[in-house]
């Protein structure tokens, strides 16, 4: 097991990501943040809060998207995936939407998320923010616009992100299957 980000580094990284977002979207007027359920929620909660603090705009549009029904592997595993909830309390029509997920690996989740998002309307522009970018493991042509930390991994390894709100600590670790 190897620690990729400790609590301190994670905080710095989140700050940087939020600053980059505000740099590109100064007023956040036609821009919305959409976290991908279930694990992207913790990252998007933090980013939404930081963007509010930095931009001074308290009316940031922020939603959560569950992609279970859009996955291409619903029947691949032995067990059915239990869905989380979707909550997008605004129209995405003509908006800049920033999709947020904690780890970008094969890109299949993001593919599903784009399909799911487009069922809510036609966004003008969709960007992707991810805390961890597992490079060279993509199965689809998808790349992040904002990446917190890039790491080279092999398929048998696993990146695990711990969140204070859920797991009692902020940390990102790289696990080998054997030690998992």
């Amino acid at each position: 097991m190897k620690t990729l980000l400790n609590s301190n580094l994670m905080n710095i990284t989140l700050q940087r990501l939020a600053h980059q977002l505000v740099e590109n979207h100064p007023t956040f007027a036609h821009t919305a943040l959409v976290g991908i359920q279930p694990r992207g929620k913790y990252l998007s909660d933090r980013i939404a809060q930081l963007v509010k603090n930095i931009s001074g705009n308290n009316n940031i549009l922020y939603g959560l998207l569950d992609i279970t029904f859009y996955r291409d592997d619903v029947h691949a595993g032995a067990n059915i995936i239990v869905p989380s909830y979707t909550d997008i309390p605004f129209s995405v029509e003509g908006m800049n939407v920033i999709l947020i997920d904690d780890v970008l690996h094969t890109g299949r989740t993001i593919r599903s998320a784009m399909d799911a998002l487009i069922d809510f309307g036609r966004p003008k522009h969709v960007e992707l923010l991810t805390l961890i970018d597992r490079r060279f493991s993509r199965e689809l042509p998808i790349q992040p616009d904002y990446a917190g930390y890039s790491v080279d991994t092999i398929l048998t390894q696993k990146v695990k992100v711990y969140w204070q709100e859920k797991d009692g600590k902020d940390e990102v670790v790289l696990l080998d299957k054997s030690t998992n």
Partner: protein, 310 residues
């Protein structure tokens, strides 16, 4: 995670976790149904056959819409006009459907127990859409889901089931479902339409409909199933309406506003008057709306249970 069963044959075989999981999944589908695009591509690899050996309006339309909104391919089969009249058996009929690569069977049949029989003899996921006078599980699930939506929880709530308890599969499935979820159930109607020893299922019996209404938070009014009554069990429909029908005057005389439900089809002026069925206390059309979400949830959760054939 997932359901503990491979088929949805009856509520009797589900546990509380299964029912809660179905409700939780239905919440998500209900949200999908409120969007402008009411469809998800989840089951685009699945084909479902609706096999109906008995008449149906709501259940069949509701299942068909649920399947289509999940992205599944759908074929409909009705016994009338099919080779069943030429003498083809149930198992042969279904096996022929399966040979055409159907993955799931939604079936309604007038013979009680037929979905259990079928599940033992064919290799497909079976969903019971009503078997004779036995069970109608998706109706009970959507009824309980509708009550949960109105009242928050079923625990300790008082539900009265009124009417033809004897011939109603909705009544039996509702009793199983409501008991499992911790609600109290009273059945009420003419003594000839209430089975003996029904108390053994954990319900109270009250022959006076007015008293049952005074006791309950929710009244689920059932249709008189004349097609299943092979001997006269009450003298006339007019007499039934007079003594056991629910009317507005009766509702207004109660101390509290109870919720009125009906699984449909309604015989207006018999078990329920129009002024009750169309009143603000009635959630009858809400039940129908929830039916699609519940059936989507059941089909989705069971779709993971089938073998993946490559």
């Amino acid at each position: 995670m997932g359901l503990s069963v491979k088929h949805l044959l009856g509520i009797k075989e589900l546990n509380v976790q299964d029912i809660e999981l179905i409700f939780q999944t239905a919440d998500n589908f209900k949200q999908v149904l409120q969007r402008s695009i009411k469809k998800v591509p989840t089951l685009r690899d699945t084909t479902v056959a609706n096999v109906f050996f008995e008449n149906s309006t709501r259940t069949r339309l509701s299942f068909e819409l649920a399947e289509k909104r999940l992205g599944a391919d759908v074929v409909n089969f009705s016994a009338s006009g099919s080779s069943v009249s030429k003498g083809e058996t149930l198992v042969d009929t279904v096996n022929n459907l399966l040979a055409m690569k159907v993955d799931m069977i939604v079936m309604r049949h007038s013979a009680s127990g037929s979905p259990w029989f079928l599940s033992r003899h064919v290799d497909a996921c079976i969903i019971n859409a009503g078997d004779g006078i036995n069970e109608h599980p998706t109706q009970a699930l959507l009824d309980a889901y509708s009550i949960r939506e109105k009242m928050g929880s079923l625990k300790g709530k008082r539900i009265a089931i009124l009417g033809d308890i004897m011939h109603s599969r909705v009544a039996l499935s509702n009793i199983y479902c409501l008991n499992k979820l911790g609600a109290e159930v009273t059945v009420s109607g003419p003594p000839t339409l209430i089975p003996k020893h029904i108390e053994d299922l954990g319900v109270r019996v009250e022959y006076n409909v007015k008293k049952a209404l005074e006791w309950c938070d929710v009244a689920n009014v059932l249709r008189i199933q004349l097609e299943r009554q092979h001997k006269p069990l009450f003298s006339t429909l007019r007499e039934y309406a007079l003594y056991y029908g629910v009317n507005k005057q009766m509702l207004d005389s109660l101390e509290k506003k109870i919720i009125i439900m009906h699984p449909g089809p309604i015989n207006r002026g018999v078990e329920i008057n129009s002024d009750v069925a169309d009143s603000k206390q009635s959630i009858i059309l809400g039940q129908v709306e929830n039916g699609v979400a519940i059936r989507m949830a059941v089909i989705y959760l069971l779709s993971g249970k089938r073998e993946i054939s490559e």
